[in-house]
């Protein structure tokens, strides 16, 4: 019994500390600081955003025919899109961050519903939202494709990932052979090509690839 309570008190202690940090910083962060934090891939800021705004998105998705897992995907993708736009210097937010994030999530979920042929509108809107530009929709489409490519890239063996990365960083074949312990440049060249073919092949076999190509 003592252990049980100790365990939960520990967990409570953790949450107390952590939540209070969050509340303190959320209160401190304005829109610009939040965006800058995301741009810098700042874990604290991302954690605040997650803790403060995820439940609203989860409610929205699960109230509109989605699961918790769908909500998680949508929330993450929305943040990736915001991150992409921030790093490209494209993002101009004229509303609150909450409204902007909700608007991106809403659009992503509408697209998902359309793909699933469930319906093309949401019945419950629990936040204000804005209409997003065509430019943002392009970023969304690009992000979907790149996510697929990156997912399969990460499934490659470590040496394949390394070879492809090095060759794209313009490392010479001789150097790649040295680093990877291959006997000659020719073999490095062959491995590079085989790795790339394996990657492209896996991407093409993924049903999502065909969906995205439509």
């Amino acid at each position: 019994m003592i252990n049980f309570y100790s365990y939960y008190l520990v967990k409570c202690g953790y949450l107390l500390v952590k939540n209070r940090i969050n509340i303190y910083q959320v209160a401190k962060y304005n829109l610009e600081e939040t965006l800058e934090g995301i741009r810098r891939n700042d874990l604290n800021v991302m954690q605040f955003v997650y803790k403060e705004l995820y439940s609203g998105i989860q409610f929205f998705v699960t109230s509109n025919s989605g699961s918790e897992s769908d909500a998680q995907d949508i929330f993450q993708e929305a943040l990736v899109i915001i991150f992409r736009k921030l790093t490209d210097g494209q993002l101009k937010v004229t509303c609150t961050f909450k409204t902007y994030l909700y608007s991106v999530c809403r659009l992503l979920w509408l697209k998902q519903l359309e793909k699933r042929k469930t319906k093309d509108e949401v019945s419950i809107d629990n936040e204000n939202f804005i209409e997003l530009t065509e430019e943002t929709q392009d970023v969304i489409r690009q992000s979907e494709r790149y996510k697929l490519y990156q997912t399969h890239f990460k499934k490659l063996s470590d040496d394949c990932q390394k070879i492809l990365e090095m060759s794209l960083e313009k490392t010479s074949l001789r150097r790649i052979a040295e680093i990877m312990g291959y006997k000659c440049e020719k073999y490095a060249k062959k491995r590079k090509f085989l790795c790339k073919e394996k990657l492209v092949d896996e991407i093409k076999k993924d049903p999502t690839f065909k969906e995205l190509a439509k």
Partner: protein, 243 residues
């Protein structure tokens, strides 16, 4: 087909002759399937180079998994803030109870010795494992291992962080630097809306006691009483002994 792919890859790498490149470019403009293949391979290369995006996704997954790893009961407990406060009450009542049991003497030093206790070790250990901020995590580990000097050096750098300042105050107290400790707790008191206010007030009052500033300490203990703090009982007892 393989040869075509190889040709595209060579073209992307820039290892074709200018003549070969020209004929390939013509193919790209005239053959839509070839063009799509070329575009796909270009995009795949760009995607591979997006290390920042992949890192960003990893971080989001980490945060999500951390969130999910919390036991359902605990998550449920903390859905509303009042539950959070209740949990803090539970912790503080235990700490408070422990402190009450140690109360005996009335001189300032003895009162301090009886009432002062830093956070319990289990709480710190588990907390530091989960705190995301690496610097804070290392500092809290130092604190937990009673390496107060090093903890102070690290925590002092996190000057805007309420948690860091709280443990900095405790570290100073552990090393008998009560003036500095008082300042750290003052930082917390100057911030509104944080959970360490009651603790900061309590520890600052103990610092004042140790610094022999009974008047200011009495004032602060009285304020603890007026706040209806969890330290009420202890503060009442101390005030009675200070008279």
């Amino acid at each position: 087909m393989k040869q075509r792919f190889e040709l595209i890859e060579k073209y992307i790498d820039g290892s074709l002759t200018s003549e070969e490149s020209n004929s390939l470019e013509q193919l790209i403009t005239s053959d839509s399937a070839f063009s799509k293949e070329y575009q796909l391979r270009l995009e795949v290369n760009k995607a591979i180079m997006e290390k920042n995006i992949m890192k960003f996704r990893d971080n989001l997954n980490m945060i999500y998994n951390e969130h999910r790893s919390l036991p359902g009961v605990v998550r449920l407990l903390f859905v509303r803030n009042w539950h959070l406060v209740s949990a803090s009450v539970a912790i503080l009542v235990i700490i408070g109870g422990f402190l009450i049991s140690r109360l005996n003497n009335s001189s300032a030093d003895r009162i301090f010795d009886k009432y002062y206790s830093s956070e319990n070790a289990i709480y710190m250990t588990r907390s530091s494992e989960l705190v995301v901020d690496a610097e804070l995590s290392i500092a809290l580990e130092k604190f937990q291992n009673n390496e107060y000097g090093e903890a102070i050096n690290l925590l002092a750098m996190l000057e805007d962080n309420v948690v860091a300042q709280y443990y900095l105050g405790l570290s100073y107290m552990e090393t008998d630097q009560f003036t500095e400790a008082k300042e750290s707790f003052q930082f917390i008191l100057d911030q509104s809306n944080n959970l360490f206010i009651e603790q900061a007030k309590w520890y600052q009052a103990l610092c004042l006691l140790k610094l022999d500033n009974k008047e200011a300490a009495t004032e602060l203990f009285t304020s603890i009483l007026n706040d209806d703090s969890l330290y009420n009982e202890n503060a009442t007892d101390i005030l009675r002994r200070l008279k």
